[in-house]
Amino acid sequence: MTILLYLTIYASASVFACACLFRAVRYARIPIHLRWELYPVPHEEPERVKHGGSYFETGDWWKAPRRFSLAGELRFMIPEMLFLKGLWEFNRKLWYRSFVFHFGLYLLIATLGIAVVGALFYLLAPTWMAAGWVGLFQISCKITGAAGSLLAVVGSLALAHHRLRDPGLRIYTTAGDLLNLAFFSIALLVLSAGYLARGPSAPDLLAFARGLITFDPNLEVPVPFASGLLLAALLVAYVPLTHMSHFIAKFFTYHSIRWDDAPNRRGGKLEAKIAEYLTYRPTWSAAHLAADGRKTWAEVAAHNPAQEGRK
């Protein structure tokens, strides 16, 4: 039974990793698009970021060295990732619910991280753990786990309630959206209840993580706790299969689209990439396109439908 639980958790983690990787690779392999940036672009010079300016504000901009401020991007990204700054600015009503939910998830991820690191310490430096570090890991797990579960459950219920109450959201809400939120609530409630009801002799999260890493068949996990772990594992596998994998999408929508202001230079890498796309053979049907599936994109672009037959 315990082994089956371990296998499910490893399988779920594998599905999660593979699905995330698959999605990221799929997006990364789509051809580079035409420029479509939106300002402000935070890697611009700080003085420019303040008003949303670009290098186009410089006369003869192509002669000036291109500045790229990683610090500028981080200044934008960290508050966005941790505190959902955009939502705070543009949709405060939703932020109260969404932030609670997402921050709860962050705490749960932290709990998982602490448990795994603690388990590794157990295995690699048992004397340290015996010297009292174990208590630190246990209390950290308890605090982040309890707070994370509470916030994520409250947040998911609040989001579901908001989706059903707000007319602007309700008509766009599908059964799938509600299931997603319900899945979070149920998995975390079962996990929390199972953990709290597990009894003094049952393993805590740290001990379970150690068992998971060592594949310990003797670890006895009570059924309610095991059910919670099982549901949580399935949830982890499910997330990247849905639009909830926006943590992957967001990398591309920001770095590859909104902030992609890289100019095309003669003889540069971009030019070489685009040259490949210009050999594609479009098949659009409208007559003025003259895209018969034989002409390349470059030939279609060089064609003048208004002067056909004129020489």
Partner: protein, 535 residues
Amino acid sequence: MSKQIKPGDMARTDGKPLLHLENSDLMALPGPFADRALDPAWAPLPAQTRENYECLLDDTCAVNVPHPKTRKEEEDLVRSFLSGLDKLFTKENNWTFLQPLILTMEHCARCQTCSQSCHIFEAAGGSEIYRPTYRSEVLRRLYFKFVKKGGLVSAWQHGDIHINWPLIARLIELAYRCNLCRRCAQTCPIGADNGLVAHELRKLFSQEMGIAPKELHDRGSMLQLKVGSSTGMNSVVVKDNIQFIDEEMTEKTGIKVETPWDVEGADVLLIHNAGEILAWPENPGAFAVILNAAGISWTLSSDLAGYDSINYGLWYDDAQFARVAIKHAEAARKLGVKKIVLGECGHAHKSLSVVADRILSGDLNIPRESSMTFLRDIVMSGRIRLDPSRNDFPVTLHDPCNMVRLMGVVEPQREIVRKICPRFREMEPHGVDNYCCGGGSGFAIMSGNNFPDWRFHVSGRKKLEQILDAFADCLDPAIPKYICAPCSNCKGQFRDLLAYYDLWEKHRIFYGGLAELIVNAMVDVERGFIEWEWH
């Protein structure tokens, strides 16, 4: 007004529009228009239009798609749409925007954060069909059902939709109820882009089905590719017109004005929106005065499209877009200029500087610069003598979306205005947070049926509010006021919007470009370049 229209209602077969708006449904206006009775009445859509064309969305009709005559024709149109839908998601057909489109399709959380940022949705009192996610949701459901071949599970996860000709006919119109200002995309926490969705739908209709508003296609990009300009001016006519402008400017300024044509090896090829030459000749005239006074080596080009910077393909068709951009670059290459400077036209700025950047390779990749920075560098260099007291009237600055939010040219025009206009005041919000004038994405030149009524009441309403607020302290008609709009299409919208609400007659609110303000302040020019006369 029904606000509870659902995405599935797009397929309704009752032959009725989904939405009817009354003035009382619209966002309230400030100041003199707080009294809704002063809001002009809408012209009804002509019965003949309804009889001949698909007008199933709202109170107007932008595209004029004829009714299919037979059941078979209707089925063919649906098939053609589905074929285009497939192509929209292949790299061979749509490498140009595939990545942002797929990310938007697959990751919009429908949280509606974007809704409050949309001036059209707000101005229309929150009408559901104008919500930025509404048209996206229709496309998203079609994408999962027909492109991803989703079954029942997909329908349950993403929502189902029934496809028929009425849905497609409505979607054609709905693609033209968005200014493509992308203010919605700016606020999306995930980075989804509902403005892009309208753009991609327009492309599908044009590139696969051959459907686009005649103002953009037949009389727009096709005419430009045929004679050189969407104004219909060929190179002989444009030279005549510029000569006339030179003469008028010489008379008006007291300085000999001469516009150079086709000068090989000039430093700068200046490309105006040719609409300026016909509608606002003082703008290209002012450029000539400034550039000559500053001793710039510059030229205009008489090559096909070389004298008209417009590129309407940006709004509806990638092929037409690329063709015109290439013509612009070829004109510069032929003359061997060091750079292209784009006149006061927002979409021309974004077209040639930003969006076409990756299409123009090799010797077609000629540096392009904004006239905002170019003029700023001239003004700040001290090469022309300026007297700000000549511009001693309230001035506010409109930010063309294509130039500001979508290109990041924000400060140069402000540096100029702050230097030469002592009574400058900002609109709120401004800069990259600006609101579209309401004429963006081609609307300013689309005047069929009663579309202008929609353009003024709905898409232009937020800008009207901003103008009234910016001049709230000086609405007295004794005080002339100036909206500086460094974009030809925006100026077209302002001209029509101000006339519609009678703001020149009632409050002396005028509009014009940036170059005119500079020449108006030039010490070496006779006073009164800006004439304060409504044309």
